[in-house]
Chain length 299, copies 2
Amino acid sequence: MTKKLNGTLVSNILYEELKQYLSTKKTLPQIVDISIDDDLASNLYVKRKEKTITQKTNIKFSHMNLKNITKEHLLEKIDTLNKDKEVTGIMIQLPLPSYLQKSEREILDKIDSKKDIDGLTTNQIGNLTVNNDSLISCTAQGIITLLKAYDISLEGKTVAIINRNNRIGLPLANLLLQNNATPIITHSKTKDLKTITKTCDMVIVALNKQEFIKKDYIKEAAIVIDVGVHKNKEGKTVGDIDFDEVSQITSYITPPTGSIGPMTICMLAYNATKAIYGKEIDNLLEQAIKKAKQAIRDL
Amino acid sequence: MTKKLNGTLVSNILYEELKQYLSTKKTLPQIVDISIDDDLASNLYVKRKEKTITQKTNIKFSHMNLKNITKEHLLEKIDTLNKDKEVTGIMIQLPLPSYLQKSEREILDKIDSKKDIDGLTTNQIGNLTVNNDSLISCTAQGIITLLKAYDISLEGKTVAIINRNNRIGLPLANLLLQNNATPIITHSKTKDLKTITKTCDMVIVALNKQEFIKKDYIKEAAIVIDVGVHKNKEGKTVGDIDFDEVSQITSYITPPTGSIGPMTICMLAYNATKAIYGKEIDNLLEQAIKKAKQAIRDL
């Protein structure tokens, strides 16, 4: 029987730790989340982040919609937020609208890396690679935290990552290496993906293709992590993996909801706290993982 | 019959391009190479770099030996070199002596990243990862340049890298991804290395164990790149692969001398030039690769 990785459970424990920690502090994190288009799904996601984080913690969250803003004004806006002492975390919804896409790197790097709670500035990405203390991509960090909470050792495991971007694939490769796993970074130009994934102890899927990964991609008793989110024809939330099929053979698997999604949002709250209080809150994460392990054993 | 990848040939073509390019320029690169201990092998290597680069190009090179320097004085020294307008490239021999090792990251990051011709500052490593224009590790860049000169397509190839450091493994993974290959980053904690390498189209070996990789690690007709350098009992230079054995089954292979060594030194001259003249000399590298392809066809 496969075990389902419960991100809601683990994230709630970390939220509790964050809330308690912050209740003793005078300065509370304040996140500003910038949207530049009015894509419905993207706005709903921002609302969900706002609702979750403000309900579960004492972190402040505001959403700034800057539809049709020019690049120059956007850079000025970011600069103003960088200088605003009340604002401790800045993030920008991606993908950017097409007229800004070629300036994506310039725009992201305009964010003061100390406020870069998405871990997407060149500086924070460099810090992660050289193993400096850093603000790390929430999705990548959420996956590793969830695995640790389930006491899944990474050491020596071969892990296929189906994604090579700066938000998921590349930071995951670094975190996996720091935990002594062997990452294989695959992508759309990889030949014979199935042959690769089929040999791996773990497969982390973020290729944004609805239910693309079937049972024949996965080794018996492997661990499968799915980052994909889609609505199928029946309006049901499904992932990049065919959950019903794949879950027949895995040892651990993420269900289509309540797993990486809540972990990602929770890591945003963690990063927003870390942006102010630095390395000392690493202990808080360790503490939450320890409590989550106990809670999972008690289930 | 396997083909031997001739780094001397390819590097000489790139040196020629660099020399010609610089002959029209008023400002010539000036490299300062800092050694902190008086390790014999390390000093010999610095001398070899100095001799090669100054003979083959109009780049200036000076060696600074700062044996027993305190961390504070070293940081001051680097700061002085950062401010010195004559000095355009700064590098530090690694590994640092043991008393400085825990400060390695701080010391490397003291180097002005615009003068970081070894590509080891957090900033340049971040730039490479996000695909910004960057100064890239000479070994990693030398390997990719050599493969391109031999017209070896990387797209879709699975490539095992036996190394995970910031000088070789990690920058290689980035460069391989930028060329649409599928990198597998292996290391001392990887389980069953042979099973992994045996399936790969290419294996890049930098594990610093004399003649460790035998024929049974390698797939028939694979490409094998060896970064290791050792003197065996007979005083002969050998690598991390058992060349006589492995070369029986490869399609392309690096011989124990005249391959990655000269490419690495040559890329240092390239980076020293790029540190002044920026992105415009990318064309010069493309030009050299084109000429090398022709020279190799004419062999």
